[in-house]
Amino acid sequence: MTRRFFLVCICLSGLFLGNKALASSESDSVDFHLLSLEYRLYTEELSVDERNTLLMQKATLFHQSNRLSEAIETLLRGNLYGGNDSIRSAVYTRLAYYNYLLKDYKKTQSYLLENAYYFEGTYLANQNLYLEILTHLQLQEWEEAKEKFNRFAALYTLNYEDARYFETHPLPRLKDSEKAVSISHYLPGIGQWYAGYPGKALVSGGIQAAFVGFGLYNFYTGYFFSGAFTGIGLFYTFYTGGARHAGYLAEQTNAKRLTEFNEPLSRIIVESVQQKSIKKGK
């Protein structure tokens, strides 16, 4: 028993010390592996596919250490026009995915379109359906998102309730921030009301009405300077500031409504993809 314990200890200590020698910290470990991959790129005679695969491994390491821009730069060092289609498509997919994580949805869409164009008619063109839907949602391209989601629901055999998401959830009704600003110029506070903040609308309208009242009362009682500069002056300040604030509130409402619509749908999509990949793994 003691000897067996001793044996296990030796192996475990070896593992521990080995890792310590390998890298003194997590970031050191990543740099160590990045350098080892780069050394292979430097020394070995690699085919286009081998080179692209190594660059993808490097990009994965960058992704794992949350260095997405460097991951994208690494992938762009690869050959996007030669070699095996599956590997090239994987590079396009990763480029799209990393750009999505960086919230650059236009670039995401651009890489997805490139992938669809180069591999049209093959399964590679459709393998990024989930990412295409998520990108359409972020870009508020509802029709495209709906059409692709219906295909996704059939492909991933979603349950009845999830598959009818677009039918059961009304599309977010977005506010026009410019409209909120302009109507606030006609009637102070109405822009905030339009943006969905009636409380703030009443406060804003009330303050401005109070200053106008103060100004008029002062005019009436013969205090023209006070009426003009304190009453009307402060009213004007709140009038322009209130209108700008209405525009800002409209944008906030839009962000909130988009999140409310997109998040549950994104969750359905991501979970379905994960479940399918787990099943495939089994």
Binding site: I10, L15, F32, E38, R77
Partner: protein, 293 residues
């Protein structure tokens, strides 16, 4: 069981003891430097830094240490991490061919981080055999003279400028022009601005060259004065309205005087910082032209 233990020990050494030593680590230094140059050419500076640090840890030979430190100084300079750049440049020994570059860049990096400090000792005691480097040394020291606003010291050093070197002469002319500006520059005084603002609100800001701010101050205090006067005329000196407006007016009046004085100090600091940036730019450019072409 004894046999088992031996095998386990052997496995331990074979599997783990050498795990940390990757192929690039076991290469000879010349190949490691070739790899580092490849990484630099590929703009993989993070990996290059990691490799060179590992070379520094592994190799004790002076020439290798010098080359690695010199390259690390360059890499950190390119990454605009000037403190680390200085740290590695400082480690380059006098026997290295990159010593001159290391000395000048260490001097500049430190001066850039601390423009207020007189760092003469870092450069003054160095002896360079090359005429260009001797003139560069005087040029960099003259830059520090200007940063210190030591105009007489600059004058003396500038007399030794030969203007013979293409990489240096335009920047020598720049430093000379900054010197002339500093010589003729008249600093505005905060107390004058305060006094002017006390006489005519906003005048202190106009004196400081801020016309817009001056007119705005005059308008605000004028408007508040008009309202106070109106309250005094119609409600009398003991009325709440007069006391309220009067208090506001007095506060604005005093704040405007103080603001004018602070404004002069801020403008002076901004101007000095802009001049320092110009000096540092002129000190920097020849180093790039001479050492980093």
């Amino acid at each position: 069981m004894k046999h088992c233990l031996r095998i386990a020990a052997l496995l331990y050494f074979v599997t783990f003891s050498f795990q940390g030593l990757a192929q690039w680590q076991s290469e000879e230094p010349a190949k490691q430097f070739a790899f580092a140059n490849y990484l630099i050419a590929q703009k993989q500076s993070t990996e290059a830094i990691y490799l060179l640090k590992s070379v520094l840890e592994q190799q004790s030979e002076l020439t290798i240490q010098d080359s690695a430190s010199w390259l690390l100084g360059r890499l950190y300079y390119d990454k605009q991490q000037l403190d680390l750049s200085s740290h590695y440049y400082q480690q380059v020994s006098i026997h290295s061919s990159g010593y001159s570059e290391a000395v000048f860049f260490h001097y500049f990096n430190t001066q850039f981080a601390r423009p207020d400090s007189a760092l003469y000792p870092l450069l003054e005691k160095q002896v360079f055999s090359n005429d260009l480097l001797q003139e560069l040394q005087q040029f960099e020291l003259s830059g520090t003279d200007l940063l210190q606003r030591n105009l007489s010291a600059f004058e003396k050093r500038a007399n030794s400028f030969t203007q013979n070197y293409y990489a240096l002469s335009p920047y020598q002319a720049d430093l000379n022009s900054i010197y002339l500006d500093l010589k003729t520059q008249k600093n505005k005084k905060p107390w004058v601005a305060g006094m002017l603002s006390a006489v005519v609100p906003g005048a202190g800001r106009v004196y400081n060259g801020r016309w817009g701010q001056g007119i705005m101050s005059l308008m605000i205090i004028g408007i508040m004065g008009a309202q106070t006067y109106e309250a005094y005329q119609k409600s009398g000196p003991e009325s709440v309205r007069f006391i309220a407006y009067g208090t506001l007016l007095s506060s604005l009046y005093v704040a405007n005087i103080a603001g004018s004085m602070v404004n002069v100090r801020i403008t002076r600091n901004e101007k000095n910082e802009a001049i320092d940036q110009k000096i540092l730019f002129s000190m920097h450019m020849p180093l790039r032209a001479i050492f980093r072409q």
